[in-house]
């Protein structure tokens, strides 16, 4: 009798809410379509605004080495390369550390340490980037200029990528601040992936006589690699688009140089520096918007590539797991 009461109550609610259901469905589909339409609108508006630059420079925009607002000649190479170099550096430094943190948190840490530490790592992922930038300017930049970069130069100074005077405002410093910013993201998401590995995997490996490291490497990391890869791509996405902290650390110089110790510029930092410039019809503004399109395309390519990789790894991973 109780149950039937409950059921009847439920049905009553549904019947009463039939209109609500339809409405809800319409509303949610509208919102979903709206998001897609918004992306389309953004792309179209950017294309229109960038058309002056596209018409003037054509494909040579992507191979142009100079950004000169006096001569009104603009090229994307310094900024695309700056974005790629700093993001690659961030991954190079950030990924091993993040994986270490994730493995420690999910596999090794005693519960007493794990809970607060996990909380802190997740909290770090939520710190606004301008705060990282401030810390970078006041703490990291002097440390870079006085200790880390001269030290690196002492050991690796013969390499062309470590030439020049260390000043703490350069591509290397930007890469390091990016690494610090993406570590919480990558470790938090990879920890989730590791936690999702069934306990039976670990137990099976251990029962076969594997050491803790072997069981982590063979049974856990292998199983979770699609998730870990997703975490890395998420970190890369943050690094590529990061604006504020990079603008504060990279030295904002619109040239191309091989050395990591020279200042540079990423697409995002250039836009942040110059968006207020020029009239509504200036060629510079149009070129900036075209760079924005390039950045959007880069993110798109990274995402598509990541999806492909994840699905491939997953397919192979399933085979391997069995």
């Amino acid at each position: 009798m109780q149950i039937s009461e409950v059921v009847r109550g439920r049905f009553r609610n549904i019947r009463r809410g039939a209109l609500g259901d339809t409405l809800f469905q319409w509303l949610t589909s509208l919102v979903a379509i709206g998001v897609v339409a918004l992306l389309g609108v953004i792309a179209v508006v950017l294309l229109i605004a960038a058309s002056a630059s596209i018409q003037t420079f054509g494909p040579s925009f992507l191979t142009g080495m100079t950004w000169d607002s006096v001569a009104d000649v603009y090229g994307a190479v310094p900024f695309v390369s700056g974005t790629l170099v700093t993001s690659a550096l961030a991954l190079l430094i950030g990924v091993p550390i993040s994986l270490g943190v994730a493995i420690f948190l999910s596999e090794l840490a005693p519960a007493k340490v794990r809970v607060p530490l996990t909380y802190v790592v997740e909290l770090l992922a939520a710190v606004p980037s301008v705060v990282y930038g401030l810390w970078g300017i006041f703490v990291l930049a002097p440390a870079m200029a006085n200790v880390i970069e001269p030290g690196l130069q002492g050991v690796l100074g013969f390499l062309p990528i470590f030439q020049g005077t260390p000043r703490g405002a350069d591509k290397f410093a930007a890469g390091v601040i990016l690494a610090i910013m993406i570590i919480p993201t990558i470790s938090a998401v990879s920890r989730e992936a590791l936690r999702a590995v069934p306990q039976s995997q670990r137990e099976a490996a251990l029962s076969l006589g594997a050491t803790r490291w072997e069981s982590t490497r063979l049974a856990v990391l292998r199983y979770a690699r699609a998730g870990i890869f997703g975490a890395i791509v998420l970190g890369l996405g943050r690094a590529v688009g990061e604006t504020m902290a990079v603008t504060m650390m990279i030295g904002n110089w619109n040239g191309v140089s091989l050395s990591l110790l020279d200042p540079g510029q990423t697409i995002a930092s250039l836009i942040a520096n110059n968006f207020g410039e020029g009239g509504p019809v200036s060629l510079q503004k149009s070129a900036l918007i075209e760079l924005g399109l390039v950045l959007m395309l880069m993110s798109l390519v990274i995402n598509v590539f990541a999806r492909l990789m994840v699905s491939r790894v997953l397919r192979r991973g399933e085979g391997g797991a069995e």
């Binding site: 009798m1 109780q2 009461e5 109550g9 100079t66 950004w67 000169d68 607002s69 006096v70 001569a71 300017i137 930049a141 002097p142 200029a145 005077t165 000043r167 703490g168 405002a169 603008t247 030295g251 904002n252 110089w253 619109n254 040239g255 200042p263 510029q265 520096n273 110059n274 207020g276 410039e277 020029g278 009239g279 509504p280 200036s282």
Partner: protein, 393 residues
């Protein structure tokens, strides 16, 4: 019985939840009505005149001070948006503001796009060469040549990259210069300060060629930082660095600045006095407000005590104010001319509502306009008309 109790238990929280929802919705609606009514009543009841301007960031602190002082004596509000000189010029050209501010005079093409704009110099600035050399106080002697080759750095065969370069030592006898690399700091955003500085470098030595003169040129070397404050911060933080910063910011941050050689051959510290001297020396060469200002500069002005990197900053207004369109009325036109008159003139104790603006300059580290420039401005303002009628005699 048990059913009834169950039902009651099930319904009570739901009803109360719904009640909370209604209360919340009600509260939001009431708040919105109150806020809306407040905003609307403010909108409709304000019969006071508000003048709208936009442009250069350099005079922004002074204009804001003017605005707050002027509203208390006259009731006229002045709303100035510091969006940069270039954006200010495009807004006055599009006639979306009543006046604009610009650190650079209108170029020939800009003037053609907005015919009838007057240049009213409203204050003066100096761009300093600020440096961070541990142990060396303000007053290092530098020449235009030295600065040019410092800012060209390693990209020029005769570039100066070390502080103990013989050319720096030659003009600084007795100063022990460190054997350290020079870090050049420049602006990363487009700026009137950069325009003044690069124009000066070009005037000093044509090795700094015209393709490097502008609001945001392609810098040969150096670290970029945003805004005057950003450059000042970067210099303070980086030992052995040098950069260019507006005088007001170097004073606020107690930075060490160079004496720069002027055309008379003297090394001059940037100060309110040495900048005013440059303006006074250049005043006789200035055109009238409706003339062509595109070539005007008070860089490298004559005079034994003139600081060589000084510049005027301008308010731009239409000579015939009906050009603005229907938003401009006789009363607003009169208010605009009165405000600018008040802003550019020195204190007149008998009638603070008609002239006072320049007396606020010194406290904010702006240079008061020399009397000759004020006279020039007043002549220009007498020519401003609305529907053909002069507004001020």
């Amino acid at each position: 019985m048990s059913t009834g109790a169950e039902e009651m238990a099930a319904r009570r929280p739901r009803r109360s939840r719904r009640g909370v929802l209604w209360i919340a919705v009600g509260a939001i609606v009431v708040a919105a009505v109150i806020l809306g009514a407040g905003a609307l009543s403010g909108w409709f009841s304000s019969s006071a005149i508000t003048l709208v301007g936009a442009g250069a960031t350099f005079p922004d602190p002074l204009i804001r001070k003017w605005s707050s002082a002027y509203v208390t004596v006259t009731g006229v509000r002045v709303n100035y948006q510091a969006v940069g000189s270039g954006a200010g010029i495009s807004q006055i050209t599009a006639k979306t503001v009543d006046f604009a501010g610009s650190d650079a005079p209108l170029s020939a093409t800009e003037r053609a796009a907005a015919p009838g704009l007057l240049h009213i110099p409203e204050t003066l600035g100096a761009v300093t060469a600020a440096y961070n050399l541990p142990g060396i106080p303000s007053g290092l002697n530098l020449t235009g040549d030295i600065l040019v080759y410092m800012f060209l750095g390693s990209t020029s065969p005769s570039g100066i990259t070390m502080w103990n370069d013989p050319s720096i030592a030659a003009v600084n006898p007795g100063v022990s210069l460190p054997a350290q690399a020079i870090s050049v700091v420049h602006r990363s955003d487009g700026s009137g300060t950069t325009f003044v500085w690069t124009s000066y470098l070009h005037l000093a030595n044509s090795a700094w060629n015209t393709s490097l003169v502008g609001k945001n040129p392609a810098w040969p070397v150096g670290i970029g930082a945003q805004g005057n404050a950003g450059v000042a911060g970067k210099i303070l933080q980086t030992p052995y660095s040098i950069g260019y910063v507006e005088l007001a910011y170097t004073v606020q941050n107690s930075m060490t600045v160079a004496k720069i050689e002027n055309p008379a051959g003297n090394f001059v510290l940037p100060s309110l006095a040495s900048t005013a001297s440059a303006a006074a020396a250049a005043a006789p060469t200035l055109p009238t407000s409706d003339g062509d200002w595109s070539g005007v500069s008070i860089l490298m002005a004559p005079g034994a005590g003139s600081y060589p990197v000084s510049s005027l900053t301008y308010l731009l207004v239409y000579k015939e104010l009906n050009a603005i369109g229907p938003s401009m009325t006789q009363a607003r036109a009169k208010a605009l001319v009165d405000f600018i008159w008040w802003a550019v003139s020195a204190q007149c104790p008998t009638a603070p509502a008609t002239c006072d603006g320049q007396s606020y300059s010194t406290a904010l580290v702006y240079v008061p306009l020399p009397q000759s420039v004020v006279t020039l401005d007043e002549q220009g303002l007498r020519n401003v008309t609305f529907n053909g009628q002069t507004l001020r005699t």
